[in-house]
C-alpha cells in the first residue's frame, strides 16, 4: 500500500492501481495540494485588531486562506476566520482586492 502523505483527504490506492478517470474525478488529473505552512503558530488569543497576524492568512485576492493551505488546526482556523471577518467589517481588511 502506498500511503498518500501529500493527500490525506483521499483514500489510499494500492501500488500499481491506476486511476482511469471513471471514478468521479472526470478526466482531469486530480489536483495536488501543497501544504504551504505546515506548523504555523497561532497565539492563544487571536486579537481581531492584530492586522499583521491576520494578513498572513490572506492571499493577494483578499480571501481567507483555506485550511488545506494554511495548515493550522480546525480550531485555530475558526478563530482566525472570525477575527478576519470582524476586521473586515471595520474596514481594517478588504473584502475583495481587485
Amino acid at each position: 500500500m502506498a500511503e498518500n502523505f501529500d493527500r490525506p483527504d483521499r483514500p489510499e490506492r494500492a501500488e500499481g492501481e491506476m486511476d482511469f478517470g471513471d471514478e468521479g474525478f472526470g478526466d482531469k488529473a486530480p489536483r495536488r495540494y501543497q501544504r504551504r505552512r505546515p506548523r504555523q503558530v497561532v497565539p492563544d488569543y487571536v486579537d481581531w485588531k492584530d492586522i499583521d497576524l491576520l494578513r498572513q492568512f490572506i492571499p493577494e485576492r483578499g480571501k481567507i486562506m483555506p485550511r488545506r493551505i494554511s495548515g493550522i488546526s480546525a480550531k485555530d482556523q475558526r478563530r482566525i476566520a472570525t477575527a478576519i471577518k470582524r476586521a473586515r467589517s471595520m474596514a481594517m481588511l478588504p473584502f475583495v482586492v481587485d
Binding site: D44, Y45, W48, M90, A91, L93, P94
Partner: protein, 143 residues
Amino acid sequence: MDSQKEEKKLAQRTYEVMYIVDPETPADRIEKLNEAVGKVIEKEGGTVVRMDDIGRKQLAYPIEKKNEGHYVLFEINGSGQEILELERRMRVNDMIIRYITIRVDEDRKKAEKLQAKRENRQAKRARFRATEETADTPAEAAA
C-alpha cells in the same frame, strides 16, 4: 463561595467597542464625542478599562464615499446594559460611520486556560527531567 456566586449574578463582562468617526469632523468634536461615550458608559453602570484614540487610518474600502476614518477603541467592563444604550446612540449619531462591539472576556479566559495548561505541562516535564538527572549522578559517582 458566596462572593463568587454574587459575581456571577452581576455578570461582569468585558467588551471592546470600536467606532470609526467621520474624518472631516474637527478634533475637538471628536474629543467631545469620546467624553460623551465615557459618560454614557459610567451612567449605565459600566467602567472604562481602556480608551484608545487610534486616530486617522486608511480604510480598506470606502465607507460613505470616504477613504479615511478616525478610529477609536474602548474597552469596557460591565453587565451589557451600557452596551445596549451605547449601540443605540451610536446608531443615530451622524459622526460615527461604523461601529462594532466584541465580547472578549470568554475568549481571553480560554486563552489563559490554554496558557496555564501549557505551563503546567512544561513544569511537569522539567520535574521529570530533574529526577532523571539526580538518579543518574549517584550511579556515575558509584561507578
